[in-house]
Amino acid sequence: MINIISNVLRFLILIIIQIAVCQQINLFGYITPSIYLLALLLLPLELPLSVQYIIGFISGLLVDAFAHTLGVCSFAATLMMFARPYIANFLNGSSENNYEAIDRPIPGVKDFRWIFFYTLALVSFYEISSTLLETMTFKNFGHTFLVILGNTIFTVFVILCTEYIFHPIVKNES
């Protein structure tokens, strides 16, 4: 029960931050962090897959409504939710879908390398699909690639910072 409330709260807060703050950021003119992906990354993996897809779709739709890009973020977020279990399995080194409640990118539960690659893979997946869908062309691909790269790096940076701020590593004295 607490789990559900904390997930919903996190989801709402991050969506509001995304709409109110992050959409206003235009670093160098084209870099916009997508911090609301953190809410999707932290969802429990043992949720039914269809529910995960629907949550991803709704969060993308909310962001889309305020960014005037109907369909772009919802498509990319749904696709990212589809890729998420495979990435987690790959990083765990198992091929079966046997998730534990512990499989979450939280410092202290997983080491930095696991968290970093999990975040990087999913965020880059999201950014590639959303940016390509938004531009709808391979013309001027250099610029598109720069946008993808900048967005991915900045988003990963922001997400990792947020995670480590709210889940500080407790040092073992022993």
């Binding site: 269809s50 629907i54 779709f57 409504a65 005037h68 109907l70 749904t78």
Partner: protein
């Protein structure tokens, strides 16, 4: 049949995924084509009010730079006014000459400054502005608020300057009241920052409440046609030949921040002539 149900159970999440992705693509397609803009308009009708509030809030933080650019635009427009020029010959060829900028000699130049200190409740009021001799501020420059005449620069230091507003017993501004076209002098009578007196208007002139009082351009400080205030009250004074006229000042001294400073380019030349006249 059982197989089919089994298949749906297994593939349920795939179906959901496909439906959601197709829905996204359809939304993207409708928002791209102008014929089927209905969905985008519906979404906009929901998020629009929220976004407007947010934009208003963010706009508040950007008011400073916007004000600066508006001040620059005002200065550019005020520099083009007729009363900023020495002469405009009314000849047959004036239009052609206007287009060539031949018969226009600039007499007044404009700068702007901000008030950093002011008093309005004393009997000797003054204001201090944030520009001084380094920015080209001189004594006896005219000071305008956005609404009308504010005062005269009386003292200049390196980075600051003192302004004597109309709210000062020594302040005298020669003025003309329209439409009666009678010249007079505006002085500050009462200790009220909203009210001043217009003197030297002959008793026979027809002054109505609400008539506008402008500078007449006879002094070499103020250009002509700048609003000073509007007539509030007309009384027949104790001195039988003149009217006592109360005017509402156009400038509201309690809330001015940006002021425009008007410099007479030929002031020293005119002053020399005046001094020579006195010596003779």
């Amino acid at each position: 049949m059982n197989n089919l149900i089994e298949f749906f159970k297994k593939a349920f999440h795939i179906i959901i995924l496909a439906v959601l992705l197709i829905l996204s693509i359809v939304m993207l397609g409708t928002s791209l084509s102008f014929n089927e803009y209905r969905l985008a308009r519906f979404v906009q009708s929901i998020v629009g009010p929220i976004q407007k509030n947010g934009a208003d809030m963010i706009h508040r933080f950007k008011l400073g730079p916007e004000n600066e650019s508006l001040v620059q635009q005002n200065i550019a427009l005020m520099r083009k006014l007729d009363n900023m020029y020495l002469s405009k010959y009314d000849t047959t060829y004036s239009e052609a000459l206007d287009s060539l900028h031949i018969n226009q000699t600039r007499m007044f130049d404009i700068k702007h400054a901000h008030i950093i200190f002011r008093t309005t409740d004393r009997s000797f009021n003054y204001m201090i502005i944030d520009k001084g001799a380094d920015e080209g501020i001189n004594r006896d420059m005219a000071v305008l608020s956005p609404k009308g005449v504010a005062g005269v620069v009386t003292d200049v230091s390196k980075n600051f300057a003192t302004v004597r507003p109309i709210l000062h017993p020594e302040s005298r501004i020669s003025a003309v009241v329209l439409p009666a076209k009678q010249n007079g002098t505006v002085i500050w009578g009462e200790n009220d920052p909203r009210v001043a007196y217009l003197e030297d208007i002959p008793q026979h002139s027809e002054i109505n409440i609400g008539d506008s009082v402008f500078t007449n351009g006879y002094s070499n400080i103020f250009p002509a046609n700048l609003l000073i205030g509007t007539v509030k009250e007309v009384q027949i004074g104790s001195n039988a030949s003149f009217l006592t006229i109360k005017i509402n000042l156009a400038t509201q001294y309690s809330d001015i921040y940006t002021v425009y400073l008007i410099e007479n380019i030929y002031k020293s030349e005119i002053d020399t002539l005046k001094a020579n006249f006195k010596n003779d």
